[in-house]
């Protein structure tokens, strides 16, 4: 297969020494195996996720994503924009939809961008990395690269919210998307069927501002993974990953549970299955070590 190039929007959390830097590491290894070239959007900015709304009004927030699209149009005009972060993808895709749905908004946005010497058409496809994998490669192709099948590992596919709603991955349902399970299967591991917290919310950004409420949600997400017999959880979203992994101590303390459930990215699984070592797979980024993966990666 020929090299595939995309205009890449990494997002703040994927930066060096940021909360999802390990995600970025594994994505890089995965792409390397699949011969994907990610061309970073020069000087991209934060999308304000879905929490910037208090300070930023509608237009300012749209302008943020519009700027990224404008920069992408300049740098990589004929490439699809690809994001690995759910929030980044959603914010950008939403902006695109809104701009095309409302000429006045498009006009105003460009007025604003002009101040920065930019102009946006917003015609590039805005896609999540998972879409690239499923649509541009397909499970069969992805399977062909597996050199170390993740045999015997039971994995709960936690899709979460923003990679799933309101857009979601084409052909998947909001309530029971199956793509993570299929990816898990493709990598030779065992998906947890009827994982009923699959698309439940982890509290998102409110994990910071409403920790107790959010941790109650996170608890259910982990519990139900254990109920399903999972060894670990896989997710496509940095916020989900951080929230579900990082607060397990607090939750254990509060609810005296004994959670110690690794939470990894699909790209981590794939890197390992593709024969990358622990570091390349970003396994060193696990607060809760994914031992089974390390073993395989160590082989």
């Amino acid at each position: 297969m020929a090299k595939k190039e995309y205009s890449f929007y990494p997002g703040c959390s994927s930066q060096k020494a940021a909360s999802a830097s390990n995600y970025q590491t594994s994505v890089a290894s995965m792409c390397d195996e699949l011969d994907i070239q990610l061309n970073e959007i020069p000087d991209w900015n934060c999308c304000s996720a879905s929490i910037g709304f208090a300070g930023g009004g509608e237009l300012p927030r749209l302008a943020l994503s519009a700027r990224n699209m404008a920069l992408s149009e300049q740098a990589h005009p004929d490439q699809d924009i690809v994001a690995t972060c759910a929030a980044c993808w959603l914010a950008t895709k939403e902006t695109q939809e809104r701009l095309h749905g409302d000429d006045a908004l498009m006009e105003e946005t460009n007025q604003a961008l002009a101040e920065g010497g930019l102009k946006v058409k917003a015609n590039q496809n805005v896609r999540h990395m998972v879409e690239v994998l499923i649509e541009d490669f397909g499970y069969d192709e992805l399977g062909k690269h597996v050199t170390r099948p993740l045999e015997g590992i039971k994995i709960a596919g936690y899709v979460g919210c923003q990679t799933n709603r309101p857009f979601g991955i084409d052909g998947e349902s909001f309530e029971n998307p199956k793509y993570l399970d299929k990816l898990v299967e493709t990598m030779g591991a065992d998906p947890i069927n009827n994982y009923d917290k699959k698309v439940s919310c982890c509290g998102g950004a409110l994990a910071f501002s409403e920790p107790e409420k959010s941790q109650a949600l996170i608890k259910d997400i982990i519990e139900s993974a254990y109920d399903g017999g999972a060894d670990m959880i896989v997710t496509p979203c940095p916020v989900c990953q951080l929230n579900v992994e990082a607060y397990q101590d607090h939750i254990n303390a509060k609810y005296n549970t004994k959670f110690n459930m690794p939470v990894v990215y699909y790209s981590t699984l794939m890197s390992v299955a593709y024969g990358k070592d622990a570091k390349q797979a970003g396994l060193d980024g696990q607060i809760i070590k994914a031992k089974q993966l390390e073993e395989i990666a160590g082989k």
Binding site: S173, F174, E175, N176, N194, D196
Partner: protein, 428 residues
């Protein structure tokens, strides 16, 4: 089928449900030549699968019995089953229609003695019971089937079962060499009465029809309630065959929802009120019904039926569109989650069984009509001069209850008669 005679004064009725039957009979009883075609092996349509009608709680097949007698007695009316329209060309007063006839593998000799069914072993999902049970590969659609003739499922053709069936028939009624046939008719007017199909409940993802055994549709519930149905009239839930006594009815399952059907299907509220009656009929005070609704649409004089049910202490009305259904892993009880909007009360109610009052979707998809017609966004055929001599009857025209379907079908019969009378130059 070469013996089918039709002229530009003939009226073709497409669809043998209550609307098609009515349109065909009313026209034929005015002395018009009518051909009624039905896709399935028997006419009767969806109403023949219902247990009772609202608001009288009388039995649909009672009316069908009368209609069948009218059909048998009427020489102007010809019924052709297993027939589908493939194309219509021409104009008002002169249409050429091509009809595809699927093989029944059983000819007019059949006496419905049932010997073939006895020897055939292969079983298939019984579509008449919405696949809640199995039927033989040689079968009579129902005791009310008309034509009262058996059918061989094409799935057994070429198998020993087929030969066994043929051997068992003393009347040379089984013809395994039957082929699909094509029939060309000239007709003056067409009444389109292909009716409706239940909206695919699996698409309403939050309700988990495809994930939870004890979430069923209102039409499946009709079969469960019916003594002739798969459970002999017992309200047994699919997961464990236990009697369901605490039953939830969810309105607007697919209706009034831009994610599914935009329109209100009209019949579902009354249907669920009727179902609450079934629950009382079966269990008395031991039964419990909960109706989750947005607006109860018991329109016009039948609102008294609604008010009667409201007085039943065992029936709870909750003004809420259920947000989601989960399943209790131990009991397999579906749990309805949502908010009662009258005063903001959250609920998570477990029930023995959840019945989705699924919406009404036109049977024929907007883009697959054999001739261009004026069809509204909802997929129903509008009454429009541009449709020429083609008239919708019943649920092809709108989401209608039986009573209104029959009125509408009767009206359509007159519209068709106007066309053929004009072509016959009979005015004045």
């Amino acid at each position: 089928m070469s013996d089918v005679i039709a002229t530009n004064q003939t009226i073709l009725v497409v669809g043998g449900g209550i609307s098609g039957m009515t349109a065909a009979l009313e026209a034929a009883e005015c002395g018009k030549q009518v051909i009624l075609i039905e896709k399935s092996p028997s006419i009767g349509g969806r109403v023949s699968q219902l247990y009772r009608y609202f608001p009288k709680l009388c039995h649909p097949i009672c009316g069908i019995e009368i209609n069948l007698r009218r059909i048998k007695a009427n020489r102007n009316l010809r019924v052709i089953s297993m027939a589908e329209v493939t194309s219509i060309t021409g104009e008002s007063g002169n249409y050429s229609v091509n009809i595809k006839l699927s093989p029944r593998y059983v000819n007019e000799n059949c006496t419905a003695c049932g010997e073939c069914a006895k020897v055939v072993e292969a079983e298939f999902d019984d579509e008449f019971n919405y696949n809640l049970s199995k039927r033989k590969g040689a079968y009579l659609v129902s005791n009310m089937a008309y034509p009262q003739r058996y059918v061989l499922d094409s799935g057994i053709i070429g198998s020993d079962d087929a030969d066994k069936a043929k051997a068992a028939c003393k009347y040379d009624a089984i013809d395994l060499d039957m082929q699909e046939q094509s029939l060309d008719l000239t007709v003056g007017a067409v009444i389109w009465a292909t009716g409706w199909r239940p909206y695919d409940a699996a698409k309403i993802q939050p309700y988990g029809y495809d994930r939870y055994e004890n979430v069923i549709t209102s039409l499946e519930f009709e079969r469960l309630a019916n003594p002739q149905g798969p459970t002999g009239g017992k309200l047994l839930r699919p997961s464990d065959g236990k009697e369901a006594k605490d039953i939830a009815f969810i309105q607007c399952a697919g209706s009034r929802d831009q994610n599914h059907l935009k329109h209100c299907s009209r019949i579902c509220c009354m249907g669920s009120l009727k179902h609450a009656n079934y629950v009382r009929e079966k269990y008395g005070d031991d039964g419990k019904s909960t109706i989750y609704y947005i607006d109860i649409r018991a329109i016009d004089r039948i609102d008294d039926f609604h008010r009667k049910v409201k007085e039943d202490p065992n029936v709870t009305f909750t003004k809420s569109k259920v947000a989601s259904i989960t399943e209790d892993k131990e009991t397999a009880n579906p749990i309805c989650h949502g908010v009662d909007t009258e005063g903001y009360n959250r609920y998570s109610n477990p029930h023995d069984l959840v019945v989705l009052a699924v919406g009404m979707e036109p049977s024929v998809a907007k883009d697959s009509f054999p001739i261009e017609l004026v069809i509204n966004e909802e997929g129903f055929i509008e009454q429009d001069p541009a449709n020429g001599g083609i008239f919708a009857a019943g649920c092809s025209a709108d989401a209608l209850d039986v009573n209104r379907s029959v009125q509408n079908a009767t009206a359509s019969a007159l519209r068709a008669i106007q066309v053929v009378n004009r072509t016959a130059g009979m005015e004045g």
